[in-house]
């Protein structure tokens, strides 16, 4: 059972990671730096609960706000460039964050041992859940509370004018400007929201894993982040969730028997998928077909 709960937590956290990229992609931007915001959330929340001994909820919110703040800062220079240049800029940002934590050493004594980020050795003592006696069920519920909150917020936004504005910028920048939308405002807002969501995901990740090091937050993780909305399509948040369940649940877990060869399959799968369905596996048309096939409750089902 605990295995499946662990998997559920992982799926929840990766959904947050995917949604952080989804928000940006609505405005037509592709970021390969989401692993960086995820890392900021993870390390910051870990430091807050371990070194400052904060409760998990404020720690998580502060970490997410910090990640959002950095996303805001990165937003301005990164948005001076677009398209592929933005991809390069965000890869560089993600790598910068990873190297920063690779070099970060902040050890303080607590209960007779030293705790905190220990540069290359990683950050090993994020034991908030264990120390406070949370059961695996409670942790899973906690993770999914945030996942559902974020999904609901995005689903809600998509029905508002703000959501239409995000998509308008993603569809045609010149037309968006000529109806009076400020590209910088819209894009930086999306970037900040994406940073916040990734930060929440990272904070939850650090506490469920109890251990993080810089090797977690590589370009590979950033690639996972964007492959979820690309596979799931941009028609709704549920696409991202379905893609995460598909990749993390079916592929990564289902191919466990392949051992180390799984990661090769991941690379190959992206190549094949992009050749067969360049606009995403669950693009608008497929999504509509699926919805019709399973009736209107399709979205509800995938959430269960």
């Amino acid at each position: 059972m605990s295995y499946y709960l662990g998997l559920a937590q992982l799926i929840g956290i990766h959904t947050l990671l995917g949604l952080s990229a989804y928000v940006l992609m609505l405005t037509g931007q592709l970021s390969l730096g989401q692993a960086g915001f995820f890392a900021i959330g993870a390390y910051c929340a870990g430091i807050l609960t371990v070194i400052f001994e904060l409760h998990i909820v404020p720690a998580l919110l502060i970490a997410a706000l910090l990640a959002a703040f950095f996303a805001f800062l990165v937003g301005f220079p990164a948005l001076r460039v677009k398209g592929l240049m933005l991809v390069v800029a965000t890869i560089a940002f993600g790598e910068f964050v990873r190297l920063f934590f690779f070099n970060l050493s902040w050890r303080v004594p607590r209960d007779g041992i030293h705790v905190g980020p220990d540069s290359t050795n990683g950050f090993r003592e994020i034991r908030y859940f264990v120390a406070n006696g949370w059961s695996a069920w409670e942790i899973t519920l906690f993770v999914w509370t945030f996942v559902l909150l974020v999904m609901a917020a995005l689903w809600w936004t998509d029905r508002s004018r703000a959501g239409a504005v995000l998509r308008a910028v993603g569809e045609d920048e010149l037309a968006a400007q000529s109806v009076g939308l400020s590209l910088t405002t819209v894009k930086v807002t999306a970037m900040t929201a994406g940073g916040f969501i990734a930060g929440v995901g990272g904070a939850l990740y650090a506490h469920t894993a109890t251990y993080v090091d810089h090797l977690t937050f590589t370009v590979l993780l950033a690639t996972f982040a964007i492959s979820y909305p690309i596979l799931g399509g941009l028609s709704s948040v549920f696409g991202t969730l379905v893609a995460v369940i598909f990749i993390q649940g079916v592929l990564v877990e289902g191919l466990r028997f392949m051992g180390d060869w799984r990661s090769i399959v991941f690379g190959l799968l992206i190549v094949v998928a992009m050749n067969l369905k360049p606009s995403g596996l669950f693009d608008a048309r497929t999504a509509r077909l699926l919805r019709r096939a399973v009736g209107l409750r399709g979205g509800e089902k995938s959430r269960a």
Partner: protein, 298 residues
């Protein structure tokens, strides 16, 4: 005073070595820029394929004890083949306007190649042969490593060969025609797919040289350097200006010197952070790069 002098020599020596080594970054940057110029797309497999080419050369070294020049040649050829494969799998059949899908596919290719190498070698670093690594020239207070000089010479030769092909042959004319106006080029009877494939092979050959030279200068080949080399190649491409070959050369040397400067002062763990900062400085103050004009292109 003499302390200061000693330190000054030490620093300039380090930067000089960096400039030499930067020639390999320049080659990787040229490869990215060449493909960007031709198709307006980033081939993310490029650095991984270059290193995989070097691994193919290394296999020849390990199994039949091939001499170093043969190793280098096989590296280049293998990487050229990988370039062609990358074109077929990640670009050829994906709609030309779908930049996102091509980018994703080539990122998938990057991880695929990387993982293949990790599996073939168990992820452990292997020794790579070098030429002239026992030669040392003295120039005043400085020493010039023979192997680095050879790396530089090979990179220069590779670049010159590329420029010759681009500007002196019919093939190069077609490549440049496609990169400037692909529809018009098509109307003139140029086969765009074939020309693009040629560009990928050319870039691949160059990348194989770069991969072999990188490994040869460092002395070992390890899959751990795939992503850093990709990132550095991209940084060089952006700093040089997307699509600009002279820019990639200048930026490659700049990055090489810059990173050794910080290697000297801040150590190997922090070195790359400063290279990334250099990129951000360019993005803020000169997003079009040193020689570029293509900052607005998607």
């Amino acid at each position: 005073m003499s302390d200061f002098w000693f330190e000054f020599v030490e620093i300039t020596q380090t930067i000089g070595d960096g400039l030499f080594f930067g020639a390999t970054y320049a080659l990787i940057g040229i490869g990215f820029t060449l493909i960007f110029g031709a198709m307006g797309k980033l081939n993310m497999t490029y650095a991984a394929a270059s290193l995989a080419g070097a691994y193919a050369g290394l296999a020849a070294f390990a199994f039949v004890d091939a001499p170093a020049p043969v190793v280098f040649l096989i590296s280049a050829l293998a990487s050229g083949v990988l370039g062609f494969v990358a074109y077929l799998t990640c670009f050829r059949f994906i709609p030309i306007n779908n930049h996102l899908a091509a980018l994703m596919a080539s990122i998938g290719g990057l991880f695929f190649i990387d993982e293949m190498v990790v599996h073939a070698t168990d992820g452990s670093p292997l020794t790579f042969p070098a030429l002239f690594d026992d030669v040392m020239f003295d120039v005043g207070p400085y020493g010039v490593r023979g192997d680095l000089l050879f790396v530089l010479a090979m990179c220069v030769a590779g670049t010159l060969a590329l420029l010759y092909v681009l500007y002196r042959t019919r093939l190069g004319l077609a490549t440049r025609a496609v990169s400037q106006q692909d529809v018009a080029a098509q109307l003139c009877g140029i086969d765009v797919h074939r020309t693009n494939a040629t560009t990928f092979v050319l870039a691949g050959l160059l990348g194989g040289i770069a991969g072999a030279m990188t490994a040869s200068a460092v002395g070992v080949l390890s899959p751990l350097i795939t992503v850093p080399l990709t990132v550095k190649g991209l940084i060089v491409t952006v700093i040089g200006g997307l699509g600009s070959i002279p820019g990639a050369i200048a930026a490659g040397l700049l990055v090489g010197g810059f990173e050794n400067f910080f290697l000297y002062f801040r150590g190997v763990n922090e070195r790359d952070m400063y290279v990334l900062l250099l990129l951000f400085i360019f993005l803020v103050f000169r997003p079009q790069g040193i020689f570029g004009s293509g900052a607005d292109r998607d």
